[in-house]
Symmetry: C2
Subunit: 494 residues, 2 copies
Amino acid sequence: MTLNNTAYADLMAFQRETEALAQVAGRLGWDQETQMPRGAAEQRSEEMSALEGVLHARRTDPRIADWLEAADATDEVASANLRHIRRSFDRQAKVPATLAQDLARVTSRAQGIWAEARAQDDVQAFLPMLTEVIRLRREEAACLAQGGDLYDALIDDYEPGATVAGLAAMFDAMRPRLVALRSAVLGASHQPPKLTGHFGQDAQLRMARDLATAFGYDWSRGRLDLAVHPFSSGSGDDARITTRVVESDPFNCFYSTIHEVGHACYELGIDPDYRLTPLGQGVSMGVHESQSRIYENQLGRSRAFTGWMLGQMQDRFDAFGITDADAFYGAVNRVQPGFIRTEADEVQYNLHVMLRFDLERALIRGDLLPADLEAAWNDRFKADFGVAVDRPSHGMLQDVHWSCGLFGYFPTYTLGNVYAGCLNLAMRAAVPDLDDHLARGDATPATDWLRENLQRHGGLYEPREVVARACGFEPDEGPLLDYLEAKFAEIYRL
Amino acid sequence: MTLNNTAYADLMAFQRETEALAQVAGRLGWDQETQMPRGAAEQRSEEMSALEGVLHARRTDPRIADWLEAADATDEVASANLRHIRRSFDRQAKVPATLAQDLARVTSRAQGIWAEARAQDDVQAFLPMLTEVIRLRREEAACLAQGGDLYDALIDDYEPGATVAGLAAMFDAMRPRLVALRSAVLGASHQPPKLTGHFGQDAQLRMARDLATAFGYDWSRGRLDLAVHPFSSGSGDDARITTRVVESDPFNCFYSTIHEVGHACYELGIDPDYRLTPLGQGVSMGVHESQSRIYENQLGRSRAFTGWMLGQMQDRFDAFGITDADAFYGAVNRVQPGFIRTEADEVQYNLHVMLRFDLERALIRGDLLPADLEAAWNDRFKADFGVAVDRPSHGMLQDVHWSCGLFGYFPTYTLGNVYAGCLNLAMRAAVPDLDDHLARGDATPATDWLRENLQRHGGLYEPREVVARACGFEPDEGPLLDYLEAKFAEIYRL
């Protein structure tokens, strides 16, 4: 072994422990949202802060610079590992440890306060924490941007290679076609029916488990729990999902579950050789969302799969006003005015994201003060959706993200949709009988194709590159918009 | 502020983060036993090992020696903090980091393998891991003992100040009176009845929750889950308990729950000023067990409390063959041959501990090989209890402790019983109307007295000292044996 290979081996051994500790932090976050007693919140924020301090110290350990200097990349995997470690080291080294710990402590506390404020519809109760989170994230962005755009610096955390300019161009290209489609759909004379009835929590959770199984979720390496805001958590052999239940609207639970199954299958599908290395997790939030969204929409909301779901629901629930597969497919994909992003139909979803993209960019750049956010949100929502927000939990308090400090994250949802549109095009060509399987409640051929062509690579390639490799073409918003226009023209008989 | 006070403040700030990280490790352990998907076991052992490495590095950080040298104890609290930190530093510094990490990794893996082996009654499946755990603990003991007795060195981890010699003398004093009492009880013409019937899991768990509430368990800072081997976990504002359910024997669940509530109430009762400091947790395992055992036995198995429990069970379960309070009190306290320590009656419990004390001492000293343990266990059990062990899960595989590497822990159970006997004597004198409360299902006056006189002190005093202060006399085995003889003479009409 050469000296240089020793440096690489030492670096990777050190990195492996850091990755393991990062998994611990993820597990603590999962516990906080699903298991932790409420009275433990203050103490937990100190635990998270201490662990964040350890992680920051490791990620900025000066030996990393020496190892990076000395290490040789002898193959593609080593080269990718070094690229990830270098990027993380360069970023982390710019942020003082005290700031990183402050952020961990404050965002840990802010999540509980947000959840309470949302339950009480009380913006004022959340505003001081939100202000503090934004202050700290702006401070962090200033460290990272070094004179550049603050929001660009934050996006890079979630989507390496993406920029405000590129995302804004994507949104600009999408908006007119989406607005036109929504207008046609809402004005159509044919309107799909709405589900009615009551759907008990236990039966919903049982069906949610069966839906996860239908997509090939590996229960020996995961689990399903309830949470206020559904999320997935963990990598390697421990990728857990959460969901929520609204007893009048089972689709909320079912499609949240399928969405999170997409995230978790991505993590569980990564080459086991990459476990606890920088390649051992989804490469970016955009690519992650491409998996959750293709599971949820292009697969879960397909005519074939909803046909199977209808039978399942008829077996499990009292009559719910729909018995016909065509009507059920319409009900699943019904476009209607609504306040909540996570419940939005495929046509309007990206319009919700655009609202957040513009507002959080203004918050981070300092053009919008937190105290003015509620009014700005409500004005913008009225302008974009034609409806007045009736309460904060339907407006600026609806999402957990800002309480966690996740500014720059929202645009990756739309990027994920765009990637999902491209992947769906390629997957349908490669697996021509996919609908036959979906119609029998078996989505595993899709998981198999996605695992083989994208998921297994983990962090080996750059985000856009791994999508392009899987698709065989450079991704853009075209396939998603084509898919949406065709799908909704059929459903709404346009 | 003087220079010396700066050293103390710096040390305590550093220690606070270490304590927070130790809480994280506890939370991971809880997750592993209650929530973790089975397939995550390997990865989890790496996570635990990485965290253990961090903790070991912090606990042996050379700055601690400097701070200890420079720090002044200006009051009783500071003096106790420094005593704990110095003891931990001296111990940890003797153990190489690689050994500490090996132990964390191996014991994390061993617990899963033990659980599987126990379920399959397969000693061979556990033996390689057990051998490895013992090898590592002996190696650790050798580092700690520095020429002294290996087992003494391990006891000190759980019960500072206790020694093999002292414990052996205690056991020697207890054995004849316990054996005589058992013999009288088993030969008595009056024998209490046995519970019959089926007790559904959900109803048992609901009653377990109500029992925890009866003792004043603070649900806002804890929770109850199922686990293979009941345990409590966590300090400060997050002290969780677990239980198990056997549908033919509800006392298993109920008294496991009350036992763990005793542990958790101790943690939750500590002065909040001590949170995340060395004083912020139970001072020793023996004192911890005194709390769990006094809740379980002197309170939970008292005539007064079982009178209330009978009514509760009649309201919740189908007929179970007993309707009379006196008979129910007898059934709860029934002495009968049995294999399982955690299910043992108060008369025989300490005999189970003596068996383990002798065997594990031999294992650690190298006088007994792991491969010979099963035969040694079974021989000794036959000699002590007059019954042949019928399967390993009733024998050497019944307890989780050895898979966790907890050698030296078992004697603290009997020490806890002895302390509980003393505390009960003092508490009954101080709270003369306690039985009136217990008879109404309210054990909170006991929790109040124990919190005020013992629990709140956390690690402020040495183990024996805190018990002596609460009792007003030096603890020994006399009060426990007197209590047992009086109680069982009455129940068995001796």
